[in-house]
């Protein structure tokens, strides 16, 4: 049995587990991962280790055919993505079947091929950064597995050849008179081989990177036709308010956003936490004892209510005073959610190929979602917003008429929109309505903005309202509406109930208001200068309508309001802490997503890398490093001269070697060795190890001077010399016989034979063994040689 079989089996197990995990995760089927890994481990234990069971060849074929038929049911009739998924299942099942067979070199190779196909398929789907690391681990495992399989294959070939030779020579001795038995390899030097390989591995990765970097990248990742049930990110079409337990926060990455100056394209650091607005909910419904905010989210599937952002050009805002236009680049993680998130106000970026839509019905930015097609890659879009001179996002944005989409028509009080936005069931919220009306009476005559602020203050911490996600400790009165219960009784809740309360208070005083969901803030990455927004940053706040006559002149000047009035952003939730991103990890994740999975940029240009993406950041690093080298060389004449000189010398050396490729005579070799010896001895004064390495190369040559001396003695005194085709052992046997007649009383023949045997054994030990000779043994040999030489000289002076 192959001595390193356990290594091969383990490598195969690891390989299959890695590739199956990657494939299962990429298609979002954890059951498949569990099945394949469980199967592989079970096969390893039962087949490879315990050897209790083993699928024979024909049985494996039958099972494979059954698996093929089973998966073909999924294959036929499916779309292109469905076909790929069916192939993924087939590969995984086949791998599991193969694992239950005896591990021959051929089977190991089949396992490796299938696992490579699995990994390739996983790459076709999607791999996030963490899985990308497993992807790298897989390649290292595959390399080691192939090396082990190579050894196993060689061992198997030699064993087969031995069996063939034995059969042939025993059955047909006349035809095959030579019986040959080759030594089986033991799979040694694995560590040494790995040691040799690591620089080549780095070269391999560098080559792959260069190839990848120089090839044109795909630009239309957002319209991948893969149809899979991918978990949606963000929101659904309704928000329930009846929380009774612990609200779980998700750490799932939703999107990244980067702000830059629209004119100069320089990065922009905001002085406030931006609101990334998603969708507005207008209608509060009560159904099955639950209170929920709903919106016609399903309308997103229809295309009737779309309006391009083309009608919202930022150019006419250029003249506004104290206002800056800020570009925002957003990269949404893979999702099938058509909603996009933007800071309001939002305008279209000029000369942009990809234009998101603005759904007036939802009052949200959206993208088209093809029927039954989902996004498996990130989606990137760029919009323009306004910031003030202090780099703060605007707290309000212009109202556009729901009816005719005009910016200068205010909301009519008798319009359906107004009715919807002021609708409230006062009977469900007696305390809330009463409080709102009391405040309104107090602020009678003040403008609407002041009233909004006053209502906002009602939910402040000074009034006993606090933020919590754990409703298990809250004393809920389930007979009441959750918002009324929050407002009137327990006063603890999360952003949804805070925002709901404020919306209802505003509506109670006849101010059109709506409940808005989106994300607030996020963690800021200092390396990529972008906001990293996770699921835990989801937030709800309020937008209140301010009619034009109630808007301040500053609002008009800064583009927050127009003829139709404005939407004022109100956030009643107590502020939460601002977190910092794990910069390095997030940067790596960004580079993986932007640069490897879905780069959407042209080839890097050294003059101006595209702003605001990690891929560009990587490009800019290379570009700046290259620029630095070029500039340094250009500026420094000495560097130029040195470089030219080195190139000339290098060229001359190459030419010299080409012209006289074999000019390595003994003299030059001696000079070279002399210099090396001298240098090595000099360095040995400081570092003995380094000196030895210089003197003797990577491995110190075996010290076999005693054997050379023996050969010299025999040659000088007896004319005996080892022939080229003769090994040292053979030589010892031969001269042992020849020296028998020359034995004397002082040096008997058995002593001579023993001496020769000792010296030959010592030679083999010094030359081929890993155990060096100790000084005592060498001294002993030297003494014997000296006595032997003296004996020969005394008794055979003529020789």
């Amino acid at each position: 049995m192959y001595s390193k079989q356990i290594h091969v089996q383990l490598a195969m197990l690891l390989l299959v587990c890695c590739s199956s995990f990657l494939l299962g995760v990429s298609i979002g089927d954890r059951t498949l991962v569990a099945i394949s890994i469980t199967g592989a481990v079970t096969a390893f234990v039962l087949v490879d280790r315990l050897r209790w069971i083993e699928l024979s060849g024909w049985m494996a074929n039958v099972v494979s055919i059954v698996v093929l038929v089973y998966t073909m049911r999924q294959f036929i009739g499916a779309g292109s993505a469905g076909k790929l998924v069916a192939v993924a299942y087939l590969l995984t099942y086949l791998l599991t079947v193969l694992m239950f067979q005896k591990k021959t070199p051929r089977l190991c190779w089949q396992l490796m091929v299938l696992s490579v196909l699995q990994t390739s398929l996983a790459a076709i789907f999607n791999l996030n950064f963490e899985n990308g690391l497993i992807f790298v681990v897989y390649f290292v495992c595959a390399l080691v597995a192939m090396i082990l399989q190579n050894d196993f294959y060689e061992w198997s070939r030699i064993q087969s050849a031995n069996e063939r030779n034995q059969t042939a020579s025993s059955q047909h001795p006349a035809n095959f008179p030579v019986g040959i038995q080759s030594n089986l390899p033991g799979g040694k030097n694995l560590r040494s081989r790995m040691g040799v390989l690591w620089p080549w591995l780095i070269g391999c990765l560098a080559f792959a990177f260069l190839l990848f970097h120089s090839l044109p990248h795909t630009r239309q990742q957002n319209e991948s036709a893969l149809a899979l049930d991918f978990s949606a990110t963000g929101k659904s079409w309704q928000t329930d308010l009846d929380e009774t337990g612990l609200v779980q926060l998700s750490n799932k990455l939703i999107f990244r956003a980067q702000f830059f100056d629209y004119e100069t394209e320089k990065k922009l650091l905001l002085n406030n936490q931006p609101y990334f607005r998603g969708m507005a909910f207008n209608k509060l419904v009560f159904k099955d004892g639950k209170t929920s905010w709903t919106a016609p989210y399903d309308h997103v599937f229809d295309t009737f209510s779309y309006s391009k952002l083309t009608r919202m050009l930022p150019d006419d805002l250029r003249s506004l005073r104290g206002v800056r236009r800020a570009g925002v680049e957003l990269i949404v993680e893979p999702t099938n959610d058509p909603l996009l998130f933007v800071p309001m106000p939002v305008y279209r970026k000029m000369n942009q190929e990809l234009v998101p839509d603005f759904d007036r019905d939802l009052s949200a930015l959206t993208r088209k979602r093809f029927r039954k097609s989902n996004q498996l890659t990130s989606f990137r879009y760029t919009v323009v917003t306004l910031v003030d001179s202090g780099n703060r996002t605007m707290p309000a944005w212009p109202y556009r008429s729901f009816i005719d989409d005009r910016p200068d028509v205010p909301m009519q009080t008798d319009s359906p929109e107004h009715a919807m936005l002021t609708a409230i069931n006062a009977e469900r919220y007696p305390q809330l309505v009463q409080t709102a009306q009391r405040v309104a009476a107090k602020y009678d005559g003040a403008d609407r903005i002041e009233l909004c602020q006053a209502l906002l203050q009602q939910l402040s911490q000074s009034n006993g309202y606090s933020y919590t996600l754990d409703y298990r400790t809250v004393d809920r009165n389930l007979a009441l509406d959750p918002v009324e219960d929050f407002f009137a009784n327990h006063r603890s809740g999360h952003c949804a109930v805070f925002a709901s309360s404020l919306v209802l208070m505003l509506r109670a005083v006849d101010i059109p208001a709506r409940y808005v969901v989106g994300f607030h803030g996020g963690s800021y990455n200092n390396l990529t200068d972008c906001y990293v927004v996770h699921g835990r940053n989801a937030h709800a706040w309020v937008e209140a309508y301010i009619p034009p006559e109630q808007c301040t002149p500053e609002m008009f000047e800064k583009g927050m309001a127009r003829g139709g009035g404005a939407w004022l952003t109100l956030d009643p939730t107590p502020p939460v802490y601002v977190e910092n991103a794990n910069d390095a990890l997030d940067l790596a994740r960004s580079i993986w997503q932007d640069y490897v999975i879905s780069p959407d940029h042209n080839k890097p240009s050294f003059s101006g890398p595209g702003p605001l993406q990690a891929g560009s950041l990587a490009d800019s690093w290379f570009a700046s490093a290259f620029d630095y080298v070029i500039q340094t060389v250009k500026a420094n004449a000495m560097v130029q001269a040195t470089l030219v000189g080195l190139m000339v010398i290098f060229g001359l050396i190459i030419a010299f070697r080409e012209m006289w490729p074999h000019r390595k005579d003994a003299k030059s070799a001696a000079v070279k060795n002399g210099v090396r010896q001298w240098l090595g001895q000099a360095i040995s004064l400081v570092s003995a190890q380094l000196g030895d390495r210089i003197q003797y190369g990577r491995r110190r040559r075996a010290d076999v001077k005693f054997y050379n001396r023996l050969e010299k003695i025999l040659k000088q005194n007896l004319g005996l010399q080892r022939r080229p085709c003769q090994t040292q052992q053979e030589f010892a046997v031969e001269i042992g016989q020849r020296l028998v007649p020359l034995a004397t009383d002082d040096f008997r023949d058995d002593q001579i034979a023993r001496m020769l045997q000792t010296i030959t054994s010592a030679f083999y030990q010094a030359r081929f063994s890993s155990i060096p000779l100790d000084n005592h043994a060498i001294t002993d040999i030297e003494n014997q040689l000296q006595k032997f030489e003296q004996t020969l000289k005394q008794n055979h002076p003529s020789k």
Binding site: A123, E154, R157, N165, V178, G179, Q729, E730
Partner: protein, 410 residues
């Protein structure tokens, strides 16, 4: 270590079956990467391409710095398992791994006939040697074992030296054109007491050995290395333990007289009366040659007596120890190539023996009775004719049971 002319050696490249599968997968991945616009597959494709390229370049550079030569023992006898050694030198500055040497050995000439070249290549036995690793500027000796069933002339080579490292995708190889001719002498056997008795019967002047000095086990002439045919009872265990290899007690001292033996390799079924003998005549010739090989081997061990050995086939030769500088090698080769004949020139041997100044008689071992032409020969008195049949030979000599003789094995 002197670097030979390695750079001009033509090196072939071959994609192994596994490499072909690898390339197919590579093409598949590349096509997928292009058609489906999947960037990660571009990375996979690039990595796989790099692996393939690196395998090729690494194997090529390793092979370019490799030199190999075959080392074959000088004295090979039929039936013995011997190591065929290869010395592989690494002249490069980095270690080399997985050097694979595919050698082949074919029989050129058997004991009875010359093997045609077509059959020779078809029936060649192949040996594989895998050198797993050699450090920079170092050498390594590896071997595989070969057992030659019959005497004759064999040819080792040409060999294919190849490297497939680190992955079994690409093989770089070159043809090692060094061909070594191997002369396999007859199998060594054991001389039985009947042999010594036969010698003493034929001539009283011919003394191949002196009388025993002592009769008990502790009285012996000398201690020497164990030879094939020595009795296990004569092993001197104390010396064996000291020296590390079997030593035996020698009870006899060899006389300086010449031991003259000739082999009459006659095999003609028409002239042999006994049908049983007719069938076994070539085998008897083989046994006679084995007996001579054993004599030679013993002479090599002691070299204390004069030896004259003649082989009479169609091209008769005589070999005299002391006159021929390379007596043993020549005789070894002759024993390997001698062929039984209808007309062995045994008369020439007798003439040549009598031209010498020896006063000993020539012992001729033959598969036939003394022919008339020898009887009529004027110098027939100087020879002792020993007609050997199968039964007779069983008393003189037996084949050794051990197939392994001490060889230089690393």
């Amino acid at each position: 270590m002197t670097e030979p002319q390695l750079s001009r050696r033509p090196i072939g490249n071959a994609l192994l079956p596994q490499g072909i599968v690898f390339v197919v997968i590579l093409v598949f991945v590349t096509v997928c990467a292009v058609l489906r616009n999947v960037n990660l597959l571009v990375v996979v494709s690039g990595t796989m391409s790099a692996v393939l390229l690196i395998c090729w370049r690494l194997s090529r550079s390793m092979l370019r710095n490799t030199a190999a030569r075959r080392l074959i023992p000088e004295e090979i006898h039929a039936g013995e398992t011997i190591p065929i050694q290869w010395q592989v030198d690494n002249y490069g500055r980095s270690s080399i791994f997985n050097i694979r040497i595919e050698d082949q050995i074919s029989q050129i000439q058997s004991s009875t006939r010359k093997i045609p070249s077509s059959k020779r290549s078809r029936n060649a036995s192949k040996g594989v040697l895998l050198v797993e690793g050699i450090m920079p500027r170092d050498e390594l000796i590896g071997s595989y074992r070969a057992r030659f069933a019959s005497r004759g002339t064999y040819r080792a080579g040409p060999a294919i030296v190849s490297v497939q490292f680190p992955l079994p995708l690409v093989k770089c190889w070159y043809r090692h054109t060094g061909v070594t001719t191997i002369h396999v002498a007859p199998a060594i056997g054991e001389l039985l007491p009947g042999w010594h008795h036969e010698l003493s019967q034929h001539t009283n002047r011919f003394e191949c050995h002196a009388s025993r000095r002592g009769s008990n086990q502790d009285d012996f002439f000398a201690i020497r290395n164990w030879n094939s045919g020595d009795s296990l009872r004569h092993i001197h265990w104390r010396s064996t333990a000291k020296v590390g290899q079997p030593m035996v007690r020698q009870f006899e001292s060899y006389s300086p007289h010449t031991l003259a033996v000739a082999a009459d390799l006659y095999a003609d079924p028409d002239n042999l009366s006994d049908s049983l003998d007719a069938e076994s005549a070539p085998q008897i010739c083989e046994q006679i040659l084995s007996l001579l090989a054993t004599l030679l081997h013993q002479w090599r061990q002691h070299r204390t007596q004069k030896l004259f050995i003649a082989i009479a086939d169609e091209k008769p030769t005589t070999h005299i120890a002391g006159q021929d500088a390379d007596f043993a090698a020549h005789l070894h080769r002759r024993l390997a190539t001698a062929q039984a004949s209808r007309h062995p020139a045994v008369v020439n041997i007798i003439d040549q023996w009598n031209t010498g100044s020896s006063d000993s008689k020539l012992l001729i071992l033959s598969s036939r009775a003394m022919p008339q032409e020898i009887q009529d020969h004027p110098r027939s008195g100087s020879v002792d004719w020993l007609h050997c049949n199968a039964l007779k030979l069983q008393l003189l000599f037996q084949h050794s049971t051990s197939s392994v003789r001490p060889q230089a094995v690393h």
